[in-house]
């Protein structure tokens, strides 16, 4: 449109205010648009659908939205409340995702979908994953792979049949700190010496059951059509045997997967105890402790796993790999991560010199802080030990060290990036179905051992899908 000479060329006050308001809105929205807009016309762009917009689905959405060349085209959830949330969040970031209640409709209606992210309750993983794979989509499915070994096995089979990728959400396997620990510290430098033991824990304080926002309840008929008994079980599915593998699956799966990975072996046996001792309205155990035996290349390693849902004591959540020359305590939370050197081990200064590890700047084992009137201490100055030995059988205190690797992204983002890179042929999956199947077998056996109240054995073929 051109301006004719008869039209006034100056801005009116109304024009000025209107333009100003639009400019202001554009400036406020610019960071979101710049962060989220899919590349226009990029042939590399992957069209993604999400099944399950609950708690975990939202975490994955927020992580995936930071990855370039990803376009969400569909979002599916049986609960309108969740579905609307996902749809609105995606719209805010410039993704026009079509909402669906039924995943079958979504898969048949949207042929342009390249990949499906499954973040539904465990008992639906196999059904959703197998359907998506059968429709020719690549699948990223949340852990635990399935609440049954049969379900997990069917997912691997479906992936093979379809010739499509299946990544399971054990996201620690894509975390650069974990990769560094596995590949460099344990694999190349053998900095821990002979690994002799491992442990892991995830202790959480008491939590109330999830309720339902006012006027958002689903009719029981709808719930039952999708396999749920009622709204309470739908909201708190992690606590009920029909839908999940319990806390050992919900929290333990991530960390028991680290046992398998870091120790480079599958276990030969598991002994476990646990029970529903605190929450009377749940079905699954609220505490579980398991002891695995791993046949590693240097000998048997026993690994202890503890999960508590009634106390947050014990130092948060972490995995510990212990050797005769050092130990690695690692967690998704960097503040719990540290390397410890045994007093008998060769000096680690050479590893500091080569950049493999760094001296801790803060926290346990770090030099005491320099006071405002003090100059920085020389490197070789002696540090007095404040703790005293109370028993002659105590061995020397372990010195603490750090890893020179940080993760400056959301913890799920590298794992999603690995999945999308694998789709583009630029990387191999870091938690493919076959590997995650072994983890699922390792995890689910714990519930059997708790029920049997005795040690159960694994056969090597148990871990083959």
């Amino acid at each position: 449109m051109t301006t004719t000479p008869s039209q006034p060329t100056g801005l009116t006050r109304r024009d000025f205010l209107s333009a100003g308001a639009k400019l202001g809105a554009a400036m406020l929205a610019a960071p979101y648009i710049a962060r989220a807009a899919p590349p226009a016309g990029g042939g590399d762009t992957i069209n993604v659908a999400l099944i399950g917009c609950g708690e975990e689905g939202r975490v994955l959405l927020n992580a995936a939205l930071k990855i370039p060349a990803i376009r969400f085209v569909a979002v599916c959830d049986i609960w309108p409340y969740n579905r609307r949330y996902g749809e609105r969040l995606l719209k805010k970031f410039g993704h026009d995702a079509k909402p669906y209640e039924d995943y079958r409709e979504m898969l048949s209606d949207s042929p342009g979908i390249d990949a499906v992210i499954v973040a539904t309750p465990d008992f639906m993983h196999a059904e959703h994953t197998n359907a998506a794979l059968g429709a020719g989509k690549h699948v990223y499915c949340e852990k635990l792979m399935s609440n049954t070994v049969e379900g997990a096995r069917s997912m691997v089979a479906a992936s093979r049949r379809a010739g499509r990728l299946l990544q399971i959400g054990h996201q620690r396997r894509s975390n650069p700190r974990y990769i560094y620990a596995h590949d460099r510290l344990l694999g190349e430098a053998h900095i821990l010496g002979r690994v002799t033991a491992a442990s892991a824990q995830w202790n959480r304080a008491v939590t109330e059951d999830l309720g339902c926002p006012a006027h958002q309840e689903m009719p029981e008929a709808v719930l039952q059509r999708y396999g749920y008994a009622n709204m309470h079980e739908f909201r708190n599915w992690r606590w009920f045997k029909k839908y999940s593998g319990g806390v050992i699956s919900d929290l333990g799966a991530h960390q028991i997967d680290i046992f398998n990975w870091m120790l480079g072996a599958n276990p030969t046996s598991v002994l476990a105890g646990g029970g529903r001792d605190y929450y009377t309205n749940h079905e699954w155990y609220d505490n579980v402790t398991a002891i695995y035996e791993f046949p590693t290349s240097t000998g048997t390693v026993r690994a202890v796993y503890q999960v508590e849902t009634t106390t947050s004591a014990g130092g948060g959540y972490h995995e510990y790999v212990m050797g005769d020359e050092g130990a690695l305590k690692i967690s998704e939370n960097p503040k719990y991560t540290r390397l410890y050197r045994e007093a008998r081990a060769p000096e680690w200064d050479k590893w500091v010199g080569s950049g493999l590890i760094i001296r801790p700047g803060t926290g346990e084992g770090a030099l005491p802080p320099v006071k405002p009137w003090e100059k920085p201490r020389p490197k070789l100055s002696m540090v007095s030990k404040s703790d005293s030995t109370v028993d002659v059988r105590e061995t020397a205190e372990l010195s603490a060290w750090d890893m020179p690797v940080v993760l400056d992204k959301a913890i799920h983002q590298p794992h999603l990036e690995n999945f999308f890179d694998a789709m583009r042929g630029k990387a191999a999956l870091l938690s493919p179905g076959e590997v995650a199947f072994a983890t699922a077998v390792t995890v689910l056996k714990v519930n059997e051992a708790v029920a049997a109240r005795r040690m159960l054995s694994f056969a090597p073929e148990d871990f083959t899908a």
């Binding site: 006071k371 405002p372 009137w373 100059k375 920085p376 020389p378 490197k379």
Partner: protein, 153 residues
């Protein structure tokens, strides 16, 4: 009635001399190296490092106490040289009685600064040095091997 025990033999003048010499050398070394480390920063020794260290010290003490910056800065800028001077004098045995008195007073002044910032651990360490210097003053009459000895009393 039993015979009273014979009195223990008094230490010989030689033992007092060695006791004092050991004490003098220890205090001298400690004082000299205390002064020397004020010139160190990042493993290198220089006058620039000295003024940087001392400036930080003055600012830190003033920031954490009632002492004014002009006082802490003047004190800090002279501290390293005084420590080196007194330490060297003790090691060489230059006017040892007066040097010990000045060193003791210097450590008391350092303790005052740490008392002002409520650094009790540092005060306790300085208290040990002050005690050693007080002991040395008791034995100073046995001083030998000095480059410039005190006049005999």
């Amino acid at each position: 009635m039993n015979e009273p025990n014979p009195p223990a033999p008094a230490p010989s003048p030689c033992e007092y001399t060695w006791a004092f010499l050991i004490l003098r050398l220890f205090i001298g070394l400690r004082t000299f190296l205390e002064g020397l480390e004020k010139f160190e920063l990042g493993g290198t020794y220089s006058f620039a490092n000295y003024y940087q260290n001392m400036g930080k010290m003055a600012q830190g003490i003033t920031g954490a106490s009632f002492l004014p910056l002009w006082a802490t800065r003047n004190y800090a800028h002279s501290l390293g040289y005084v420590l080196l001077l007194l330490g060297a004098a003790l090691l060489l045995g230059v006017k040892t009685r007066m040097t010990l008195i000045l060193t003791g007073l210097l450590y008391v002044s350092l303790a005052f600064g740490l008392m002002a910032v409520q650094e009790n651990e540092g005060v306790a360490w300085l208290g040990i040095y002050v005690g050693l210097i007080a002991g040395a003053l008791v034995l100073v009459r046995h001083d030998r091997f000095g480059a410039w000895p005190d006049r005999r009393s």
